[in-house]
Amino acid sequence: MAGQDQNSPPVAELLAAHPFVVGMEEAQVRRVAECVSRVEQFSTDQVIFRSGGVARILYLLRRGDVALEVPAPGSGSRIVGTLHAGDALGWSWLFPPYRWAFDARAMGPTEALIIEGEKLREYASADHELGYQVVWRVAREMADRLQATRLQMLDVYGERP
């Protein structure tokens, strides 16, 4: 069940420890911290979001593993990738039409910082330095995953018989 751990340190501290903000100036981290609405916990197999749903949140994973899935009729779902503690989950909140492209499911007990995407977009529009930092990080994540996806498509472990 989703919820906030009341014993957690302040969200600003949690945010400062997350790789997503490493390299940002302190003032920029504070602005991002203003967009953190809560820390949320997800239990095993809990769906975090579903494809087609409105994308409003950037999830900064602090703990656990998340599967990005596509529903596959007849076989439940196919996992297209997994994300892990330290990763940023979701960039659909940044680009129109702000809809999730995949399902996200917690593979085990998972904890994430919840960043309100709309608010962060507003801050990024008003402060292009901050905007650059945010978009650069999302772009890096996208580039890493694009490369990994290309390798998956190459079927690098050898040809099928």
Binding site: A67, I79, G81, A148, Q152, V156, Y157, G158, P161
Partner: protein
């Protein structure tokens, strides 16, 4: 106390020799200079330098010939060519003749010192490989030596089992005179009447009772080998090839990266790493497979994963909702793997595309190419460097490999076909 490493610089320009001496003065090296090729070769024979810089354009004996003679006199010599005529074709020619690298004039002190650092690292690697090769050869001379190295020795199949839908393991009764193998070595397996194939030895080197090979069915010979049954007879030649640098890795972090069938040639190394676990610092085993059904040795993986002193991670290219592990190619495990890149040794096996990307990630983490090793398998036919089918430049994959330092392998990866 370690003896000082010896550097010999051969160049006809006194000013170059003086500046090299000045640039090396701050390091703890024993530096010698020569003003021509003949003197350089004489000094090399006398002092056995760890690293030789050779000017390509000198009066008298040309630099290219110096290179060749250095190599002929000592196959472990590491030479770097320096010249004012830096062209790609010259560099390629020098590499073919055994140069480790190429330093165009003019060069800065930093460039020179970096080349010295890399050259000396390469020397250590080459010496370690030579030593491990000597140990491997002492451990397992050709069982068919009496009949000639091309004569396969008949061995009985003790057992056969399916590993995955396209991969089979064969347990063989070791041939008479078999004295074991070193992890990383391979045998030539002969399906009588069909043909031979180079297959890595995939079992525990400490297990003398059986000789394991894991065979992926990719052609006529491997399909024939994979269809053998208990009691059938197979021809074996070997063991051949260079072993994994497990001695060199002692005291260091070891990062093993296996993709698909690549786990088979790494499994003996993993067995040895775990059997001598206290010889090594951190041990990381990163395994990638297409799907869970394609994963080799799942029970052993579970066993290894259960050890508190091993960091083992498995990732699949594709999975259904029931999979609880990672999904993504094996290279995605490297950026966050916990190891000390400044001293770690990497051992990577998989298809070449995977090895290139895995190597790129390890190098990006800061691992030196001289501490990164890959196993290449290309068209090995004779296993002893005679037929030339697996020749890449000046190397024979079967004889000089299949385990190569990445310094060498990177150049070979550029050769699309052999």
């Amino acid at each position: 106390m370690q003896p000082r490493q010896k550097i010999l610089v051969i160049d006809d320009e006194e000013v170059v020799l003086d500046s090299c001496l000045a640039m090396l003065a701050s390091g703890d090296y024993e530096t010698t200079t020569a003003t021509d090729g003949e003197e350089g070769l004489r000094l090399a024979a006398e002092i056995s330098p760890d690293l030789v810089f050779v000017d390509l354009k000198m009066p008298g004996l040309p630099g290219m010939e110096v290179l060749e003679r250095l190599r002929a006199a000592d196959s472990t010599s590491v030479a770097i060519v320096i010249t004012g005529y830096a062209t790609v074709s010259l560099a390629v020619e020098a590499m073919k003749r055994g140069a480790f690298d190429f330093l165009p004039k003019p060069f800065t002190p930093d460039e020179f010192r970096e080349m010295v650092r890399r050259g000396l690292e390469r020397r250590v690697e080459v010496l370690v490989q030579a030593r491990e090769r000597a140990v491997a050869q002492a451990a397992g001379p050709l069982p068919g030596a009496a009949a000639g190295p091309m004569a396969p020795i008949p061995c009985r199949v003790l057992g056969r089992w399916e590993e995955t839908h396209d991969t089979v393991s064969l347990a063989l009764d070791p041939p008479p005179g078999w004295r074991g193998f070193r992890p990383g070595q391979f045998n030539m397996l002969y399906a009588f009447g069909i043909g031979e194939s180079a297959i890595s030895i995939s079992g525990d080197p400490a297990d003398e009772s059986r000789l394991l090979h894991t065979i992926r069915k990719v052609g006529k010979v491997t399909e024939s080998l994979a269809s053998l049954q208990r009691g059938d007879v197979i021809g074996v030649r070997g063991p051949f090839g260079t072993p994994w640098p497990l001695g060199y890795a002692a005291g260091r972090d070891v990062v093993v990266v296996a993709g698909g069938i690549g786990l088979a040639p790494l499994r003996p190394a993993i067995h040895e790493l775990l059997a001598n676990r206290d010889h090594y610092n951190r041990v990381l085993i990163l395994i990638g497979a297409r799907t869970s059904a394609d994963l080799l040795y799942p029970e052993e993986i579970q066993e290894w994963r259960g050890r508190f002193d091993v960091d083992l991670q498995v990732t699949l290219d594709s999975a259904t909702g029931g999979w609880r592990g990672r999904v993504g190619v094996v290279t995605t495990l490297i950026p966050r793997a916990e190891f000390d890149a400044d001293q770690a040794v990497g051992m990577v096996v998989g298809p070449e595309i995977m090895m290139r990307f895995a190597a790129a990630e390890l190098l990006h983490r800061g691992m030196s190419p001289s501490r990164l090793f890959v196993s290449m398998e290309r068209n090995m036919k004779c296993g002893i460097g005679l037929c030339g089918h697996c020749q890449v430049g000046s190397k024979f994959v079967c004889r000089d490999g299949a385990v190569f330092g990445y310094d060498e392998a990177e150049t070979m990866f550029q050769v699309r076909e052999v």
